[in-house]
Amino acid sequence: MRYIKWVFIIVFWTIVLTFLHYTLPQKDVVRIVNTYEERQDLADWTRIFWSVPDDQSETLINRDVQFIQAIRPNGKNMVYRNEDTGWNWPPYFKFDTADLYTDANDMISTKDNPVWVSVTHYGWRNRFLSVFPNAISMKQVEGPDARVIPWVSIIILIILFAIFWAIRVRWRRFRRARIDPILQDAGETWDGVDQRYTETRGKFGRWLDSWRSKPKN
């Protein structure tokens, strides 16, 4: 029973943390090298990793998606998609895909004369599933080792923790005040029943015994 409880707790927190890691904004410092558009199939289950930018596309089975290709300071690559999130989840309310595409093209730079950019994004890059993080905004920074602090994520995590804690404290107080006494009551009642049964059984048993044939001598 204890193992089941722990498995349940671990699965629950894994789901919560995975969800937060996918949804909360992160910032990368990168150098943008190119942008491109590519037709993407939207008919399989990986549809959940693409946005729903407008009303028509919900029934489309494929459409063009904009991508931003970038190189990180350590030389490894990163590819972002550039899609409206619109009024849908996650709540970035991004409608300026075309503007961001323009900015990205404006910030394209070469290895010899690099322009470093801090790209705010959410989501994951996965090669097997062809999943790309969605770029939200970008800002030029001084250099490849510029320090970018994810204030938004920090604030959201603090607020979430505060809400979680406030509910937890109140729930524990409620349980101590209302539920534990009832359980205790039930336990005591049961003890009483148990004892009464034992006593009654004693009386009844003695009465029964009184009908049994007495050993004759």
Partner: protein, 88 residues
């Protein structure tokens, strides 16, 4: 329309949260009034004291602060829209 869905679902969820918060806030106020009567006043009608206190609470600014449950998310969404789309 995604925006209508957001408005309806958001309003529904916020209404649930508002309902729970309102009930909770009222019960906390009631417990405080009862405690005040038990420890300090201890004379007159206890129920009338609590009823009067709750009536005062119903018209109070503190209770109206609960409407922030509706207002704050709207302001947050407007701020996010502004920052995402109009600030580089």
């Amino acid at each position: 329309m995604a925006v209508l869905r957001l408005i309806f679902v958001g309003f529904f969820i916020l209404t649930i949260i508002y309902g729970i918060a309102a009930l909770y806030s009222r019960s906390v106020r009631k417990a405080k009034l009862a405690q005040e009567w038990d420890t300090e006043i201890q004379q007159g009608d206890r129920d009338a004291f609590i009823r009067e206190g709750l009536r005062e609470y119903s018209g109070s600014f503190r209770r109206k602060l609960l409407f922030g449950i509706y207002i704050v998310p709207v302001l947050v969404i407007l701020t996010i829209i502004y920052i995402t789309n109009f600030v580089n």
